[in-house]
Amino acid sequence: MKDYFYGITKKLIQPLSIKSRVVTIVAALILPLSFLAPLWHMTFVAQQYPEGLNLYIYSHALVGGNDGNDLTEINVLNHYIGMRELAPEDFNELKWIPLIIGGLMLLTLRAAAIGTLGSLVDVFVMSSYFGLFSLWSFWYKMNLYGRELDPTAAVKVDPFMPPVFGYELVGQFHVWSYPAAGSYVMTAFGLLLLLAMYLSWRSDPRAPV
C-alpha cells in the first residue's frame, strides 16, 4: 500500500516528457478559442417563430440571434409572464468565467514549461471543477429566473425550468438547449490534458528530458 502511494507520488513529481509538453502547449493554445464561440446554444421555436429565436451563451456575453434582437424578443415575451429581464450586466458569470479560463491557460502553460505530471493533474482537476461549477451556475440561474416571477404579471404561469441540456416544451415554445462550439473546445482541452498525462505516465522516468 505504502509502495503504491510512493510509486504514484514518484510518478507525479517526475518532470513532463517532451511529447507531453508539446501536447500541453497545444491544449493551452486552443483554450482561448473558446472565447470566439458560444459555450451553450438555446433555440426557441414556435408556430409564429418558424425561423426560431436563438440565444448564445458565450463565456463573456449573452447574445441573441438575428443581430442580437432575439434576446430583446425573448425579454419582450417574458415580460408578459413577469420574468426578470435577461440583462447581460446581471450575470456575474460573464465576468469571472473569462478570468478563470485565462488563469487556467496560464497554469497550463506553466505546467508545460516547468511542470511535473502532478501540476498537470492539478490543472485537469481545477478545469473539471470549474466546468462543473459553471454548469451548476447556469442551471441555478435558469431555475431562479423561472421561479421568481413577478406576481403582478399579466399572464400567470407556474414556476418552470427551461432545459439546461436537451429538449423541453415550455408554453408554446419548443426549446432545445445544447453545448455549443466553445464547450467542445473546452472538451478538447480536457482530452488533450488527459493525453499529456497519459504520455508522461507512460514515459521512462530515467530518460533525459
Binding site: 517532451i18 508539446v22 486552443i30 434582437n69 419582450v76 467542445y184 478538447a188
Partner: protein, 634 residues
C-alpha cells in the same frame, strides 16, 4: 524526435480539426423555397394549375407591380400565383399604413387626395432592372413619385410646373440618369395662363421633360423641359443600346385643334399619320448647361425653334399609344390604335435620316423625318394595337384592344417582306379588351421570356358578381413555348394601366429599421426607452416623445388645453419583423402606423375638449386590446 513526430502529430491534428469543425458548425433552418410547383399535368387545366400553384409557405418567383390608376396606388402581387401581397399608397392617403396621416407623408401629398398612377418604371443599371427604385407618374397633377424598394415606401413626390396630365412617364434611361414626364392634354403656356380653347393652335402648348436622378440617392430634380406643339403626348420609352440617349413619346391630335363640341375622338382622327417625338436627352441637357434654356417659373425651358438638334418627329399610323424599344435597342415599335398594323423603325435608319437631313416637314422648329426612310416594316398584328413587350428571343407581343387578343410576332430581320402575315406567329384571346401588357423584365435589355400578364380593361362575368363597379382583370399567360397558354385569371381594384415584372431576388428589402442602421436618415425625435420619453409644454404647444412596444405606450396619458398645438412623435422600439404598432386618436381623425424601429410625427390642434382614447390599431400581441391611453383636452 522522428518517432515523436510520427506518433504525436496525427493526434494533435485531429484535436485541432475537431475544434475548428466545431467552431464553424452552423445548423440554421432553411428558408422557404422560391418558385411554385412545376410539372406537366394531364390536361391543359391541370398543367395550368400546377404552373401557378405556389404551395403554402413557398414564395413566388417574381414580383408584379401594377399601377393602381385613379386609386393613386401601386398593387404588388406574386407570379406565378398572382396573389395580391400588398398595396403601396403613392398619391392617395391610406389609413392601412397610416400614409398621409403623419406630418411627413401629409407634406409629401401636398394636399392632394388622389392621383392617377399609370406607368411604373424601375431604376436600371446597364439596361437591366437593378431593384433600387420604382418611379410612378401622376397623370392628373403633373407629378412623379419615387419608391424605395428597400422598404416599399414613397420617398419623394416631385411636382413639375407647366406639365398638364403627365402621361408619358415614368420611363427610365438604361443607367438611371433620367426619367421622363410629358403633357398629355396641352394647356396654355406657361402653366396657369388663361386662353380660350378657340386659341388652341397658337396659345396651347405641350411640354416634354427629362427628370434628373441622383445616382446614389435617386433624388429627382427637373433637368429640362422642351416646349412642343399642342399635340397629346401619350406613351413613351427610353432608348437603349444603339438608341441609347434618345427618349420617345407617341402623340395624337397632330391636327392641333380642340373644337368645342367637335368631339376630339373625331377631330383628332382626321390625319392619316400622327407622330413619335424623339428627343436627344444628352443634347437637351447640354443645351440647358450651355445657357440656351429660358427660365420660366423655375423650369429651364428649351424652344426647338431656337435650339436645334434636340427633337425630331417620326410619322406613325394615326392615334398611336405605345412606342416600345426592343431589347437590342435597334428596333422601335410604334402602334397606332386605329391601324391594324404595328410599325417597326430601325434606329440606324433614323440616325442616317437625321445626319442627311432627310426631312419631309418642320413643325414649330421640329424636323419631321421622312417615313419611308426610317420605317423598317409594318406588321399586320390585328385590330387596335396598343402596346408591345418582348421575350428576349426575337419575338414581340402586342396587345390588341379592339380584337381582345395578344399577337406574338417576329422582330426583324425579315427574309420575305412581301408577305408580312407569316411573321405574326401566334395569337391568344384575352378577357376582355386588353390595354397594356407586360412580360417578365420585358422592357429591360434581357427579358426572361416566360410570363406575360395581360392587363384587361373589362372582366365582365369572369368572377363572382360584385355589382356594377366591376374590377379589372389580369391574366397570366405562359410564353415560354411556341404557343401562348393562358394560365390564370386575377382581378384587381381600379385600375392597373401598366405593370412591371421583376425577378424576386433582385429586390432586397429590410423588414425592420434597425436602431443602428445609419443607411436611413436619422430621426432626432426617436426615443428608445421609457426613460427617454417625455412631454414638454412650450407656450400653447405641447410636444410628446412617445414609444410603443408590446403592449403599451409610454407615456399613456397626455394632458393638453383646448386650442393647444399638439406634436406627438411615436417611436416603435420593436426590432422584430411584423411587430407594427398603430397610434390612433378617437374622434381626431388620426391614425399612424409605425413599423419596427420607425418614428412618425403628427401635429394637430386640440380643437375638441373632452377625453379621447388613443389605441394601437395594428394588431400586435395577445394584449393588443389593452394597448391604449388617453388624450385629456381641458
Amino acid at each position: 524526435m522522428k518517432r515523436m513526430q510520427k506518433s504525436l502529430w496525427p493526434i494533435v491534428a485531429v484535436a485541432v480539426l475537431v475544434t475548428l469543425v466545431a467552431l464553424v458548425a452552423n445548423c440554421g433552418p432553411k428558408p422557404p423555397q422560391r418558385g411554385g410547383a412545376r410539372g406537366a399535368g394531364g390536361s391543359d387545366q391541370a398543367s395550368a394549375a400546377l404552373a401557378t400553384y405556389v404551395a403554402p409557405g413557398d414564395l413566388d418567383e417574381y414580383y408584379l407591380f401594377y399601377s393602381g390608376g385613379h386609386s393613386g396606388q401601386i398593387f404588388v402581387a406574386g407570379i406565378p400565383s398572382m396573389r395580391h401581397i400588398t398595396t403601396i399608397p403613392v398619391f392617395t392617403p391610406y389609413p392601412g399604413t397610416g400614409y398621409g396621416f403623419d406630418d411627413e407623408s401629409k407634406k409629401m401629398l401636398g394636399g392632394y387626395l388622389w392621383g392617377d398612377s399609370h406607368h411604373p418604371g424601375f431604376s436600371e443599371t446597364g439596361g437591366d432592372y437593378d431593384g433600387r427604385w420604382l418611379f410612378i407618374n401622376d397623370n392628373a397633377n403633373g407629378r412623379i413619385a419615387r419608391i424605395d424598394l428597400r422598404d416599399f415606401k414613397v420617398k419623394q413626390i416631385l411636382k413639375v410646373p407647366h406639365i398638364s396630365a403627365n402621361h408619358g412617364s415614368s420611363f427610365v434611361t438604361p443607367n438611371s440618369e433620367m426619367v421622363t414626364m410629358a403633357t398629355r392634354m396641352s394647356v396654355p403656356f406657361p402653366g396657369g395662363t388663361y386662353a380660350d380653347v378657340t386659341e388652341y393652335a397658337e396659345k396651347y402648348q405641350g411640354i416634354v421633360a427629362g427628370i434628373k436622378l441622383d445616382p446614389d440617392s435617386g433624388d429627382m430634380s427637373l433637368g429640362f423641359e422642351i416646349l412642343v406643339p399642342p399635340f397629346d403626348y401619350d406613351l413613351g420609352d427610353a432608348g437603349k443600346g444603339p438608341s441609347e440617349g434618345y427618349l420617345f413619346w407617341t402623340c395624337y391630335n397632330s391636327e392641333r385643334e380642340f373644337i368645342e363640341g367637335g368631339k376630339l375622338e373625331v377631330t383628332a382622327s382626321q390625319r392619316d399619320k400622327d407622330y413619335i417625338l424623339m428627343v436627344d436627352w444628352r443634347a437637351a441637357s447640354a443645351a440647358v448647361a450651355g445657357g440656351q434654356a429660358e427660365n420660366v417659373g423655375g423650369a429651364p425651358v428649351l424652344y426647338p425653334d431656337k435650339v436645334s438638334d434636340i427633337a425630331w418627329y417620326i410619322p406613325l399610323a394615326k392615334s398611336p399609344h405605345g412606342v416600345d424599344v426592343a431589347p437590342s435597342g435597334r428596333w422601335i415599335v410604334g402602334s397606332g390604335k386605329l391601324s391594324p398594323t404595328t410599325t417597326v423603325y430601325d434606329i440606324e435608319k433614323v440616325k442616317k435620316a437625321i445626319a442627311e437631313k432627310d426631312f419631309s416637314d418642320t413643325i414649330d422648329g421640329i424636323p419631321v423625318l421622312k417615313y419611308e426612310s426610317v420605317r423598317e416594316a409594318e406588321v399586320p398584328v390585328g385590330l387596335g394595337p396598343l402596346h408591345t413587350q418582348f421575350d428576349g428571343r426575337g419575338y414581340a407581343y402586342t396587345s390588341l384592344f379592339v380584337e381582345s387578343a395578344v399577337a406574338k410576332w417576329k422582330l426583324p430581320p425579315y427574309d420575305d417582306p412581301s408577305n408580312m402575315e407569316q411573321y405574326v406567329v401566334d395569337k391568344i384571346p384575352v378577357s376582355y379588351n386588353i390595354g397594356h401588357l407586360v412580360t417578365a423584365e420585358g422592357d429591360s435589355v434581357s427579358p426572361d421570356g416566360n410570363y406575360l400578364v395581360a392587363l384587361n380593361k373589362l372582366s365582365k362575368g369572369r368572377h363572382l358578381s360584385v355589382g356594377p363597379s366591376i374590377p379589372e382583370s389580369a391574366q397570366l399567360i405562359d410564353i415560354s413555348g411556341e404557343k401562348m397558354k393562358l394560365l390564370y385569371d386575377a382581378f384587381t381594384e381600379p385600375e392597373p394601366h401598366y405593370a412591371l415584372i421583376i425577378k424576386a431576388d433582385k429586390i432586397n428589402t429590410v423588414e425592420v429599421y434597425k436602431k443602428d442602421d445609419d443607411t436611413w436618415p436619422k430621426n432626432e425625435d426617436a426615443v428608445w426607452s421609457v426613460e427617454e420619453t417625455k412631454i414638454e409644454r412650450n407656450g400653447s404647444t405641447v410636444e410628446v416623445w412617445m414609444m410603443a412596444v408590446r403592449s403599451y405606450f409610454a407615456p399613456d396619458v397626455i394632458r393638453v388645453n383646448k386650442g393647444d398645438t399638439v406634436i406627438i412623435h411615436v417611436t416603435n422600439i420593436e426590432q422584430t419583423r411584423d411587430e407594427l404598432h398603430g397610434f390612433a386618436i378617437d374622434d381626431y381623425n388620426i391614425n399612424l402606423v409605425i413599423d419596427p424601429g420607425e418614428t412618425k410625427t403628427v401635429t394637430f390642434t386640440a380643437e375638441k375638449s373632452g377625453v379621447f382614447a388613443f389605441y394601437c390599431t395594428n394588431f400586435c400581441s395577445a394584449l393588443h386590446q389593452e394597448m391604449q391611453g388617453y388624450l385629456l383636452v381641458k
